[in-house]
């Protein structure tokens, strides 16, 4: 029942859900809106009735005592119970599920995202599965925006700008940080959002369930036709905040792996340049 009543969220105009946990958030939003709609209809109906019934033309003499019944109290208790249910029954357990049910480390794709004015740097650990060190003295906006140390663990790391590729149906752990000011990393279709706070690295995880190709098919004929997933910045970060977007491509595992191989080749080319 929790699912079916929550499905009102379909009519609320939420973006198409493309992650494994998204339906839980949608249900929660649906449930809250049920409470809101019920209360609002109740209030509205009551207000219309009283305004007509107790118009000074219809009721020239006011009653000093007014309402004597206790229905309003029952209604208030009802609201409290409903809110308690939303809080204890839904929000708290869901949130802890979303934040603490940490996946088994071996099956997770770790990706670092470093936000800056006004781009998203995506950092993959490469073949060795380990992130290289970074050093702010190495930062070069053209060639090395995150200041990656290109030896040891960092030798095979892949860094892209505004291009995030992820495999479908696999858990992804994002380690989010920022180089300069506060940004906020959001992918509306994945129902994830997280502030990027400079000086902190904040991990969060999700599982995409729909490839970009499938998604593009689904939105055929709508106003956003042809436009896939995007990272949206949600926290004011300066004059180009409005266009600080990154592109997200969800691929099948094979396609994703071949993309990784392709990116790894670029690194070798770069190193050739150095020689």
């Amino acid at each position: 029942m929790i699912e079916s009543l929550g499905s009102i969220s379909k009519y609320l105009g939420l973006p198409i859900n493309s992650s494994s946990h998204g339906h839980m958030i949608d249900n929660m939003i649906g449930w809250v809106h049920w409470l809101m709609i019920l209360l609002f209809i109740g209030w509205g109906a009551y207000l219309i009735i009283t305004v007509i019934k107790f118009n000074s033309k219809n009721n020239p003499k006011a009653n000093y005592n007014g309402v004597q019944s206790h229905y309003s109290q029952y209604a208030e208790y009802g609201v409290i119970v409903f809110e308690a249910f939303l809080l204890i029954g839904l929000s708290i357990p869901l949130y802890s599920q979303l934040k603490t049910s940490l996946p088994n480390n071996n099956e997770v794709h770790h990706v670092r995202v470093i936000a800056q004015q006004f781009a998203w740097n995506i950092h993959y650990p490469g073949d060795d599965g380990k992130f290289g060190d970074t050093d702010i003295n190495l930062v070069d906006e053209e060639s090395n925006p995150i200041g990656l140390v290109r030896d040891g663990n960092g030798a095979d790391d892949i860094v892209t700008i505004n291009q995030m590729h992820l495999p479908v149906n696999q858990q992804v752990m994002i380690h989010l940080s920022s180089k300069d000011v506060i940004h906020s990393f959001g992918i509306p279709e994945m129902r994830i959002k997280q502030d990027a706070i400079p000086g902190m690295t904040i991990p969060f995880f999700f599982t995409p369930t729909m490839t970009t190709d499938d998604f593009l098919q689904k939105i055929n004929g709508t106003k956003r036709e042809g436009k896939g997933y995007e990272i949206a910045c949600a926290q004011l970060c300066g004059n180009s905040h409005y266009r600080m977007k990154g592109y997200v491509t969800i691929d099948t595992e094979e396609k994703y792996n071949s993309w990784l191989v392709e990116q790894a080749e670029y690194i070798e080319e770069e190193e050739d340049d150095d020689w």
Binding site: M36, A62, Y64, P188
Partner: protein, 581 residues
């Protein structure tokens, strides 16, 4: 003072006056002008959102002039930099220079001494100082518009590090805020002392009009919540002027350059200190509005307000709890489990007294004999609108739905429903209701009703689509209204709806402004009715005739009963003044 009947000079009487009534009106006029300015900024922004990069009609050349002055490129359109300036200043002006001064400074100042039967505020000179400090704060804010780089542009929340590295306007913003905070502190201390010490004989705590209660709670919020923001403002000033790193962590790289500061600070420190004020601030905006509502509803239903004691306890509890919910603005800053549980629980708890207050107001209608005067229409319009504002707070106060809704237009819609119809409608109700007290003249009812109906329609046209956009995931503070983002494409047409509503909302204010000016210019009847609404509270009885002259009361009032004794069985009239023996 009144003993010697020497004529006071114009300056002493109207400019540097220590009379709470004059100061109240000074606050009112200044704050209305700032509300108008804040509104105008918003209209220009809304044009940019609906028609990005096209010249703004009517004021396009003014926008271009300002942009040139600030050093931004503009062809009469609103460039992104200036959009951020307007956004930050719209919020700041509306909250700190518009609504708080009008609802505490003007209404509180004018009415609290009258409603409790006091001769003036407890500290008349401090009262004057509080207005002039506010005035200076306002001037500092206005001057900052003309600086190179424009006024503050990091949002009214001024989150560092962005605000730490912002243009000079931010420094002016901080200095202006220090003035405004000082003014609020002086004003609110004065109001508390006045209410505690200067109540007339017989005016016990449970005989205070609810408006006075709301001012008392509000003033406590201001006294205790503003100083932490002042501390934060001082830190940010230090960061900006002396290069300290209170809010700057080590290792920042800005625009490819390593930021040359010592580091070691925390951007979250600002957010904590800021929201420690800014959440109680929400109740500073809404509680006095509720106070006005109680007065208007009781008077126009001709019956006592329902559940006076529940109202008082709820308002007090609301004030107390408002200090315990601040971090629900920060759910997505990487907060731990326990903290998120604590803050969403307190947030749900604080919704209960709000529901009780709204319920009391609605139940007050039952059994009444409702007069549909303009103030009452605004009060009736307030109820569903504040209802929407309160209800849309629920999904935002719970951390799980907040993951999707955080920093979207849903947030904007939510708090505008609370503060725009919620507070501004109450302010309008108050202006129409107490105008005869201030001037001895009634505002025109027909014009008032036109003002209400059109305001009601266009406010909804302006704010309802925000909720739709927010559910669609459209971020706030985007200077192109979302045009750059794929997921916003399906919601862009709403920008046009909202923008037209905003401009039409401005048109809907013309009858109000016309009404004000026309009535002020009209001749006063030689013997104005001192109590045109047949009200019970002390400000309408035993006073020196309206508009109030020197001194407040002809004879020192003595209070014999509660504030809302309407339609008492067995009485000859349907209202029994508090001072009636």
């Amino acid at each position: 003072m009144s003993d010697s009947h020497h004529e006071e000079s114009f300056w002493r009487k109207y400019i540097f006056s220590t009379d709470h009534k004059v100061i109240g009106i000074q606050y009112g006029i200044t704050a209305l002008l700032f509300l108008f300015l804040g509104f105008s900024l918003m209209m220009v922004m809304r044009w940019q959102l609906a028609y990005p990069d096209t010249a703004v009609p009517i004021v396009g050349s003014l926008v271009k002039w300002l942009a040139d002055l600030n050093g931004f490129a503009s062809d009469g359109n609103l460039p992104a930099d200036l959009y951020n300036v307007f956004g930050a200043m719209h919020g700041t002006i509306m909250i700190f220079l518009g609504v708080v001064p009008i609802i505490v400074g003007a209404f509180g100042n004018y009415l609290v001494p009258l409603q409790i039967g006091a001769p003036d505020m407890a500290f008349p000179k401090l009262n004057m100082a509080s207005y002039w400090v506010y005035f200076v704060g306002g001037v500092v804010m206005l001057v900052s518009f003309f600086l190179p780089g424009g006024a503050a542009n990091s949002g009214w929340t001024a989150y560092p590090p962005l605000s730490d590295i912002a243009t000079t306007g931010q420094t002016y913003w901080l200095i202006g805020m220090v003035f405004l905070i000082t003014s609020s502190l002086l004003g609110s201390m004065n109001i508390i002392v006045t209410i505690v010490q200067l109540r007339a004989e017989g005016m016990t705590w449970m005989r205070l009009p609810f408006f006075v209660w709301s001012q008392l709670v509000t003033s406590f919020l201001l006294v205790l919540a503003f100083p932490p923001l002042e501390a934060a403002g001082i830190f940010q000033l230090m960061d900006r002027v002396f290069g300290t790193s209170f809010f700057l962590p080590s290792g920042l790289v800005i625009g490819g350059e390593i930021l040359k500061v010592s580091g070691g600070g925390s951007p979250l420190l600002w957010q904590h200190l800021f929201w420690f004020l800014a959440h109680p601030e929400v109740y500073v905006l809404i509680l006095p509005g509720m106070g006005i509502l109680a007065e208007v509803i009781a008077n126009n239903t001709r019956k006592p307000i329902w559940g006076y004691k529940s109202l008082v306890y709820s308002a007090t509890f609301l004030g107390f709890m408002s200090f315990l919910v601040w971090a629900h603005h920060m759910f997505l800053t990487g907060m731990g489990q326990g903290m998120s549980v604590f803050f969403q629980t307190t947030t749900m708890i604080i919704s209960v007294p709000s529901v009780i207050i709204l319920t009391c107001f609605m139940l007050s209608l039952w059994g009444g004999s409702i007069r549909f005067t303009t103030p009452m229409l605004f009060a009736l319009g307030w109820m569903p609108m504040f209802g929407i504002g309160g209800l849309t707070g629920l999904p935002l106060g719970l951390s799980t739905p907040d993951i999707h809704l955080h920093d979207t237009y849903y947030v904007i819609g939510h708090f505008h429903y609370v503060v725009a119809p919620g507070t501004i409608f109450a302010i309008f109700a108050g202006i129409y209701y107490w105008f005869p007290k201030m001037t001895g003249k009634m505002l025109n009812e027909t014009l008032g009703k036109v003002h209400f109906y059109f305001s009601f329609i266009f406010m909804n046209g302006l704010f309802w689509p925000m909720l739709i956009q927010g559910l669609g995931g459209v971020s706030r503070r985007l200077s192109d209204g979302g045009a750059s983002y794929a997921h916003a494409q399906e919601f862009l047409h709403w920008n046009v709806v909202m923008s037209y509503s905003a401009w039409l909302l401005a048109v809907a204010q013309i009858p109000f402004i016309y009404n004000l000016i026309k009535t002020l210019l009209a001749d006063k009847s030689p013997n104005p009715d001192p109590n045109p609404w047949n009200a019970t509270t002390v400000e309408w009885t035993d006073t020196t005739s309206p508009p109030l002259g020197h001194g407040n009361f002809e004879k020192t009032p003595v209070v014999h009963r509660g504030p809302y004794e309407y339609s008492v069985p067995g009485e000859s009239t349907d209202f029994t003044p508090q001072t009636q023996n």
